[in-house]
Symmetry: C2
Subunit: 163 residues, 2 copies
């Protein structure tokens, strides 16, 4: 588990391997409702190949079929951001703290702050993260299609975003 | 829009009617990412036939196919709760403020508080809401199946939950 990265968990989630591999997972059983107390979900650093800067990912819920959306709380330290990427089904971001930015390929830099909601449709190349000086946390809701929730692309350079 | 209830919105969401009916909806277009600033999403009272007590529902994201999960922030005043209900695909609750309770039919009363995550599998009869004396807010993530996200049942009586 310690060696797992957020991207690996996301990739595994739709296949059910995560739940199968960990019998103690609150998501392993569909027999009853489960309560995962605050502070007990695993916390990981975002994988360096998928994020620039320091990013902490807390998986809140990993899906088992027929449910297909994962939920994670993701915190970006100032300056931190995803690489460019797309989602095969899409992603909803609910900003829960701080201030950040989101941008689609070829589009304007858009500011986001606590309480804002971002919808990223399927196939839209984009990035999201903190501002240069403020941290940002969002809940990311991501649906999977045939075991895939995200396609990671190249890093976002400082030049591309005026930093 | 004012006459709409949370349940109506949830029922409409999977069919895309909500997006079609409101051209100004940030979810109406799938051409680019959309940012819905905090405070601009519609806020509604929970329908009396589906909730006991005062409940406020803020729809954060309404799905359009192939995306199928809606996101809503739901605030229960002290004592307020859902009626008994089931979900055809399931529901994830992320408690964002306060303290509440959740219970499956025939199961124990379980306490929930800010930061806890609840997973309700498909078909599990249950209710959730505030405690008798504290308010509770959660983000509800609900996937739809053939246009349906929830089946509402009978009210939760005070006797059933020791109030």
């Amino acid at each position: 588990m310690k060696a797992s990265t957020a991207s690996a968990l996301l990739a595994l989630s739709a296949t059910g391997l995560y739940a199968s591999a960990d019998a103690a997972s609150p998501n392993a059983s569909t027999a009853a409702l489960t309560v995962t107390p605050v502070g007990t979900a695993p916390s990981m650093n975002g994988a360096p190949e998928n994020f620039t800067g320091h990013v902490r990912v807390e998986m809140l819920h990993v899906p088992t079929a027929p449910w297909r959306s994962s939920s994670a709380s993701v915190t970006f330290e100032p300056g931190a951001r995803t690489v460019w990427h797309t989602h095969p089904v899409g992603q909803t971001l609910i900003v829960t703290a701080g201030a950040g930015q989101v941008q689609r390929w070829g589009g304007p830099l858009e500011s986001i702050r606590a309480g804002d909601v971002v919808w990223i449709p399927a196939g839209v190349k984009h990035w999201h993260g903190a501002t240069a000086t403020a941290a940002m946390t969002h809940i990311a809701i991501t649906e999977s299609l045939e075991g895939k929730a995200v396609d990671w692309l190249e890093p976002v350079t400082n030049e591309q975003i005026g930093r």
